[in-house]
């Protein structure tokens, strides 16, 4: 382990101050399931952990009266998938949080941490993208909000500046007739990193027309992708084999993956289409 110091922040302002004073080697500590490994294996230079889990708003789940949802960035996965209202209104968040790591990882890991780790294969981010999550960031100049699809800038890289950290994630209320689904492909049943993953949220009107959609695929580019062409292929008409196939083709066309130990370029391009098709069909089932 690198010579890491530890500080427990009691407020957002204190966390910002500690991170700013700590400079480039200071990292927020939520569940630690990525950053502690990075400190130990020296894949990042870290000399200060600022523990943000003792700040109330950073670990809170709030359901708004309008059906919106706010999740503190460090809220562990098990609290998210164990929340009955989230399971009812945002089941796609259960899809993601219940398959990030195993039980012991889910006891610590958070959606905010998954986002800030900014892996191209993150299993939380496509769901955040199709839910139109807004990322609330605190920093030396106060707070700002970033659309989640603009947050990651490359593998392990994001828009956070020195002294900044993610406080919470805001989700608008899903409109009537909405359904959303996240799926990942791995060669075993659990405890693995996505070869490719995908999420779809769509809305159906009373006649079965798709009135709105958002589709995201992961592990096929340097950052998780929002694929506008895939959504456009299904909007404005009832779902059909042709429209779903066109959306799948759009996701495959948007994919720009690498070949690595988990999968080849060819396999990932194919999977982007397959998972787009499956998430559209299953999101539509949830919308019905």
């Amino acid at each position: 382990m690198q010579a890491v110091k530890y500080a427990r922040a009691e407020s957002v302002e204190e966390a910002v101050s500690l991170l700013q004073d700590g400079g480039a080697g200071a990292r927020p500590l939520a569940g630690g399931t990525d950053v502690i490994v990075q400190a130990r294996e020296r894949t990042r230079d870290i000399d200060l952990f600022v523990d943000i889990k003792h700040i109330a708003e950073v670990v809170a789940i709030e359901h708004g009266n309008d059906g919106s949802l706010t999740i503190g960035a460090a809220t562990p996965c098990y609290e998210i998938y164990g929340d009955d209202s989230i399971a009812e209104k945002f089941p796609i968040l259960v899809d993601s949080t219940s398959l990030i790591g195993g039980t012991a990882i889910q006891g610590r890991a958070s959606l905010g941490g998954n986002l800030c780790n900014s892996s191209p294969a993150a299993d939380g981010i496509p769901s955040l993208i199709v839910l139109e999550a807004q990322v609330e960031i605190a920093g030396p100049n106060g707070r700002r909000t970033v659309a989640v699809e603009d947050f990651c800038t490359g593998p392990g890289q994001n828009v956070l500046d020195s002294g900044e950290f993610v406080v919470k994630l805001h989700f608008p209320a899903p409109a009537a007739g909405s359904g959303a689904r996240f799926i990942r492909f791995i060669p075993r049943n659990e405890m693995d990193i996505a070869v490719t993953n995908a999420a779809t949220q769509l809305r159906l009107d009373g006649d079965g027309n798709v009135t709105w959609a958002r589709i995201s695929v992961g592990a096929v580019a340097p950052t998780p992708l929002l694929v506008a062409d895939a959504a456009a292929a299904i909007v404005g008409q009832p779902l059909s084999e042709d429209s779903i196939a066109a959306a799948a083709a759009a996701s495959s066309a948007a994919a720009n993956p690498i070949t690595d130990m988990r999968g080849s370029i060819r396999q990932r391009v194919h999977l982007a289409g397959v998972l787009t098709e499956r998430t559209i069909r299953q999101a539509a089932e949830r919308a019905a």
Binding site: A3, T33, V37, D51, K53, P76, T103, M191
Partner: protein, 159 residues
């Protein structure tokens, strides 16, 4: 940069404990090297194997992925807390009776994880047991005997 020794106050297996650790110690290192509780094992040291699994504030965690300093005020339970004196817990007895271990390195993690499952879900299905324990790796048993031991501890008939 040098790190300092820190004092941590927490509860370990029901006993109020104060220990001295290096600021960069993980909970696993503190348990094994500072407190002398060597039940939790270091396997992968990166959160994949589950051999270091302990219960922290009612949830299982990989103690290699927890900083010792984070445990201030926490309630930690390790495999050493399962037995009452010389009396093994029902889960520990079931592991013996079902021969659910061979080399034993993974066993403390499996015991702590399975105990937490049974506390939360006293009558789990085989599917639920397998998913709950997916973060604990065993290279000896092939898992079936471990699953049967948990089923036996849950009072289920085991074939």
């Amino acid at each position: 940069m040098a790190t300092e020794h820190i004092v941590v106050n927490c509860t370990i297996n029901g006993e109020q404990t104060t220990f001295l650790a290096n600021e960069r110690d993980s909970l696993l290192e503190a348990l094994r090297d500072r407190i002398g509780l060597t039940g939790a094992k270091e396997g992968c040291n990166n959160g994949n194997c589950g051999a270091c699994c302990v219960n922290m504030d009612g949830r299982i965690v990989n103690s290699c992925l927890v900083m010792a300093a984070e445990c201030e005020g926490a309630e930690v339970r390790t495999v050493e807390g399962l037995a009452s004196g010389d009396q093994l817990s029902p889960l520990q007895n079931a592991f013996l009776e079902q021969a659910a271990l061979q080399c034993g390195i993974c066993t403390p993690g499996f015991l702590v994880a399975a105990e937490a499952l049974l506390e939360q879900n006293p009558d789990p299905s085989e599917h639920e047991i397998r998913y709950w324990l997916a973060g604990n790796l065993c290279r000896c048993t092939g898992y079936d005997k471990i699953i049967k031991a948990v089923q036996q501890a849950a009072g289920q008939s085991v074939v």
